[in-house]
């Protein structure tokens, strides 16, 4: 859910720019060579200059943690916040990315801090302590997520691995889309964020991902940008819209299961219920924009294969 909220601010910052390091030539591809430092990166928090290759990174963003490990920056990570539960070997701490305690953070002597949520004045506060902060809020699109990979790669001296990882993700997604049977036009889903029927429209990060498989959200009827693309839907509307698929991400928080959805008063008339097309998605992956989105896409693709086949 936290990704949902911060997604709003990500929409405001429509794109992110990464500045090439001024010292190195624009034509020469960056390498792991120390020559690429100091480096200047522009994140949503502003221009950040990193003097030398960081060796004590603190990640206060569960998504950034996954990305850092995916691009090989894992050994440079000193501490991650309590929501960074993946990969399991990340040095998890009591730090809280949504309620940042600057003092507790400084104890880790970070030489780079990555956040996905920035309380007012945080970047300026860290600047006084000469600690560079990369602010990578929830990505509104895959393209922005790819930019974040590259930014992290540049900032940590793992640019080549980052480029490779983006390439791998693009290839995997293309492969999943290619190998999944086409759904009939107008195939819809209801994506449940919580048991009070908050949902996503096709314009959100998740909506775009599912759109790659030809699916569209019933929530689009509420206006694709209502509440930042995350409207609360009316129950009787869901019944009348009769979605072909139901995707659940509120299992861990709220004990919602395909069985409990089927048991909701009135919901038994839905064809997704009667055909068993209710899919429990991994809530952690679904609220992040990191490397494991391909796993989630694969889950949905598997469901489609099963029911189309």
């Amino acid at each position: 859910m936290r990704a949902v909220r911060s997604g709003l601010s990500a929409l405001v910052i429509t794109s992110m720019f990464l500045l090439a390091p001024s010292a190195s030539g624009a034509s020469s591809p960056p390498s792991r060579a120390r020559a690429s430092f100091p480096v200047t990166v522009l994140s949503a928090g502003g221009k950040v200059t990193i003097a030398s290759r960081p060796t004590s990174i603190v990640s206060l963003s569960a998504t950034a943690t996954e990305m850092l490990y995916a691009i090989g920056a894992g050994p440079q990570v000193r501490a991650v916040d309590k929501y960074s539960n993946y990969p399991p070997n990340a040095p998890i701490t009591n730090l809280d990315g949504f309620s940042i305690n600057a003092e507790a953070l400084v104890k880790y002597h970070p030489d780079l801090v990555v956040v996905s949520y920035e309380p007012a004045g945080f970047v300026a506060q860290m600047a006084k302590l000469k600690i560079p902060v990369l602010y990578d809020p929830a990505a509104p699109t895959l393209a922005v997520a790819y930019h974040q990979y590259l930014g992290l790669g540049r900032a940590t001296g793992n640019y080549a691995r980052a480029v490779a990882e983006v390439g791998r993700l693009k290839a995997r997604i293309a492969q999943i889309v290619r190998t999944t049977p086409h759904v009939p036009a107008g195939t819809t889903y209801y994506y449940e964020l919580d048991p009070t029927y908050y949902s996503v429209t096709s314009h959100t990060f998740m909506g775009q991902l599912l759109g790659l498989l030809g699916l569209s959200s019933i929530a689009d009827a509420a206006g694709v940008n209502t509440n930042g693309g995350y409207p609360q839907l009316n129950a009787e509307f869901i019944i009348q819209a009769n979605p072909d698929y139901i995707f659940l991400t509120d299992g861990p928080c709220c004990q919602v299961t395909p069985q409990s959805v089927a048991a909701r008063p009135g919901w038994s008339v839905l064809s997704a219920v009667s055909h068993g097309r209710i899919v429990n998605l991994n809530a952690d992956i679904a609220s992040r924009w990191g490397p494991r989105i391909v796993n989630l896409l694969q889950e949905v693709a598997n469901a489609i294969k099963k029911y189309q086949g």
Partner: protein, 343 residues
């Protein structure tokens, strides 16, 4: 205040309005169904009438399982909040007292938050936890107020309520901070919504609303007696402290039950009794029952707004009532009638 208006006329008018409001809001919804379909579904559910509606299973599910329980639940919650507000205003002799005055809201909020952040607690426990939290907060308020206050005057209890509410809110905020990932359900509950209303919710709160409403109604004369002050009331055989305890207990029980399924919906408990006072003769013999009926109408209409304003999206019900309540409040504060003192 029209001379000669009997007490039954306002009651009748309020009842007729409620019937119209129920019919209209059952007929309207984000799922557009024809009036005939809606009526057909309703007729097929009337006991002993063997009418087989030609309406589809979908229409039946929408009208009978989703729309009607929501209308009924809005009515029960609105009725309870309005009656609770009128009762609190009576026992504390303050026209701005609301049913959340003694900490029900803060307590219920804390209870709901605990239920949401407790890892193994089921989401179904939310109403129970909210109810327990609300009742606990008011009990604590009452104990503190009775201890510290000389002569157990209303003021010391209200002050204790402020302190308890602050304490519970602080604990709740702290819990929220520690479980930031679970914030959304907490926020959704605090904003107030009937979006998941079902007959189960109706059955859950009905006993509380009936008992609480009956007790409050039975005290309507005694609330009038309190209007002449505790001392004079005691000379006509009334125990002001006992009346206050019973009325506050009943109002709290009902309010906590209502809030546990609806979340925090503001202003109903102030607007409705106030409007009723302005249009009737201000005796609790009329204000209490008419507020109950009109509170139901008010919240059903507000919830119709919550359903329809951004259909098929939802607007939080608490936001709708606040939108109506804010301007209304300013109007009331500026009106001459309220400056004369209402109680």
């Amino acid at each position: 205040m029209v001379a000669g208006v009997s007490t039954t006329v306002p009651l009748l008018i309020a009842a007729v309005v409620l019937v119209v409001v129920v019919v209209v809001s059952t007929a309207i919804g984000p799922a557009s169904l024809s009036l005939a379909t809606v009526l057909g579904v309703l007729a097929s559910h009337v006991p002993l009438v063997h009418y087989h509606s030609s309406a589809s299973a979908v229409a039946n599910a929408i009208v009978w399982e989703i729309r009607l329980p929501r209308v009924v639940l809005a009515g029960l919650v609105g009725s309870m909040l309005a009656a609770g507000g009128a009762a609190y205003q009576g026992v504390f002799r303050n026209p701005l007292a609301d049913p959340y005055l003694l900490g029900v809201a803060a307590g219920a909020g804390l209870g709901a938050t605990i239920a949401i952040v407790t890892p193994r607690a089921s989401f179904e426990w939310l109403p129970v936890a909210a109810f327990l939290g609300g009742a606990a907060a008011v009990s604590l308020t009452y104990l503190m107020g009775a201890r510290t206050g000389q002569r157990s005057s209303g003021t010391s209890i209200v002050l204790a309520g402020v302190a308890v509410a602050a304490l519970f809110t602080a604990i709740q905020t702290n819990l929220q901070q520690q479980h930031a990932a679970d914030l959304q359900p907490v926020y959704a509950w605090i904003l107030g919504s009937l979006s998941t209303a079902s007959w189960t919710d109706v059955r859950l709160i009905l006993p509380y609303v009936v008992v609480s409403g009956a007790v409050l109604l039975a005290h309507r004369r005694l609330l009038d007696a309190l209007r002449i002050g505790e001392e004079e009331a005691s000379t006509i055989g009334v125990h002001p402290q006992r009346v206050r305890l019973v009325v506050v207990a009943a109002a709290t029980l009902g309010t906590a039950a209502a809030v546990s399924v609806s979340g925090l919906i503001g202003f109903v408990g102030i607007i409705v009794p106030h409007l009723v006072r302005l249009t009737t003769n201000a005796s609790y013999r009329v204000v209490l029952p008419v507020s109950m009926i009109s509170g139901a109408s008010f919240l059903i209409l507000a919830d119709l707004g919550a359903r329809m304003l951004e259909a098929p999206g939802e607007v939080p019900l608490g936001v709708v009532t606040a939108f109506i309540g804010g301007p209304f409040f300013i109007f009331v504060l500026r009106s001459r009638r309220s400056q004369q003192g209402v109680l």
